[in-house]
Amino acid sequence: MQAQSAAPDDDPRAPLISFSGIGKQFTVKGELLQAVENIDLDVYQGEILTLVGPSGCGKSTLLNICAGLYPATAGDVSYAGKPVEPYNPAVGYMTQSDHLLPWRDVAGNIAIPLEIKGLSKPEIKAQVEELMETVGLSGFGGSYPNQLSGGMRKRCALARLLAYDPETLLMDEPFAALDAMLRMRMQIEIRELCRRLNKTVMFVTHDLDEAVAIGDRCVVFTGRPGTIERVVDVPLAPDRNILHLRKDPDYRTITADLWDVLAPSITEDR
């Protein structure tokens, strides 16, 4: 099955990330569970690829494979032409649960990647301050994760991801716990950031509107075992104004289309 459609503008460049024939089985209590099957997907440099699909269809699994957390049981993944090995250092991964270090306060958590990079103390402090501002956590630098709300923890994890400036961002429902205002601000921020620095993003979301609003392409999965149902090009301008999308007719048609693609899986689940 050749699920991938052409890249934007029929880009002749080689893909940055390439999944071919990917399958992943987990062994749960001695039984094999096929999480994803036959995934063929190319991700190109500088695009924001959104992934949507029913819960449990293997979206996180795919990101984990791309990050090199575990190998696929079938097929190959390559990153920049080379097979992905454990711990792909080119990607930054904001996982579905935040995995903040409980013994570090917010500022300390955001500082980790900067410390690893070996920046000086004042540099770290300045950058952390700026990042907290970006994600709206100013003034909470001294709070520990267990004193934060779920959304604040997510924002802290997001700031930590932005701190280390990886080439490719893997984001697993990064804005799920944010309020509508902040969510829109972060969507604008991410698009702006990726366009400015030419980042590549794989972005999992359950929100179809979000998938269209920030994606250049949208991959729709179906479940059990997870396969790619369709890859949809989002025909919106790269420098779209997310604030005003609601009134954009293209945006409305494409979200409606996406709903139609996913609708069968709603009735199936019944």
């Binding site: 990607v91 996982t95 270090l101 013994w103 980790i112 990647p113 690893i116 267990n146």
Partner: protein, 261 residues
């Protein structure tokens, strides 16, 4: 939920203590022979006499040095081995049955052997206490290092962390709660090591004071020495608690913050 005020609890505690002591005082010589149970007043007199003469401080200091020495020595080696074996899976796998075998041995049973090896000086008690403390701290540290969240390690690895980064940013901080559990458990055991050592062979220390009083059928002295040991254990425990709060501020917050699920 209404929690009773702190003062109220302290009043109740004082009342409890006073009633126990009064009952003891009353029973002494009436319900049981004073020879066996002594009496709180006599013990207080004996204890203050020891305080005045400095006896209790002299022997207390000896025991403190032994317990503290053993605690530090055993704790340090335990931590180092715990971290090392926690990281070196093969070595841990190979040594596991031997460690468990040795762990199940009641360490005080080693006392006679230690007398042979190290004589009856202070060092023998330090080694005895250290051996006991070592296992507690070692096993806790080892478990702590092993219990480090693989997800947190993976996240840091993706950020390009080296082994050294992982050790200092994830493994050690996450193991520290376990290490402190080991250290806190060790306090009474360090004292046990020191005092058992003194009981077996010594002419100094609270254990000696205890054994000596018992040898002279001086129940009052035995109780007074026990009180000295209790006071020392109390202060050692408090010191570790304090250190724990300093080393793990997030823990402190954890117990003080309002619960939410």
């Amino acid at each position: 939920m209404e929690t009773p005020s702190r003062t109220y609890i302290w009043v109740l505690r004082a009342a409890f203590l006073v009633s126990v002591l009064s009952f003891w005082e009353f029973s002494s010589g009436r319900l049981a022979s004073e020879f066996f149970i002594s009496s709180p007043s006599a013990i207080a007199v004996q204890f203050s006499r020891w305080v005045m003469s400095g006896t209790i401080f002299y022997h207390g200091a000896i025991t403190l040095i032994e317990a503290l020495g053993g605690f530090l020595l055993g704790g340090m080696i335990g931590m180092i081995f715990g971290v090392w074996l926690g990281r070196a899976e093969l070595v841990a796998e190979v040594l596991d049955p031997f460690i468990m075998m040795f762990y199940s041995l009641p360490k005080v049973a080693l006392a006679p052997l230690f007398v042979l090896w190290f004589g009856i000086g202070i060092d023998m008690k330090i080694y005895l206490a250290a051996t006991i403390v070592f296992f507690l701290v070692f096993l806790n540290t080892y478990t702590g290092v092993r219990a480090v969240s693989r997800e947190q390690v993976a996240i840091l690895r993706l950020m390009g962390a080296t082994e050294k980064h992982l050790l200092f940013k994830v493994v050690l901080p996450s193991a520290i709660t376990w290490v402190f559990t080991g250290l806190r458990l060790s306090v009474p055991y360090a004292l046990i090591g020191a005092i058992v050592g003194e009981l077996i062979a010594s002419n100094r220390g609270l254990g000696y004071l205890l054994a000596n009083s018992a040898g002279q059928f001086d129940t009052t002295g035995v109780f007074a020495a026990l009180i000295g040991i209790m006071i020392m254990a109390f202060f050692l425990n408090a010191a570790v608690k304090l250190l724990e709060a300093k080393a793990m501020p997030w823990r402190d917050l954890n117990s003080k913050r309002e619960m939410s699920i």
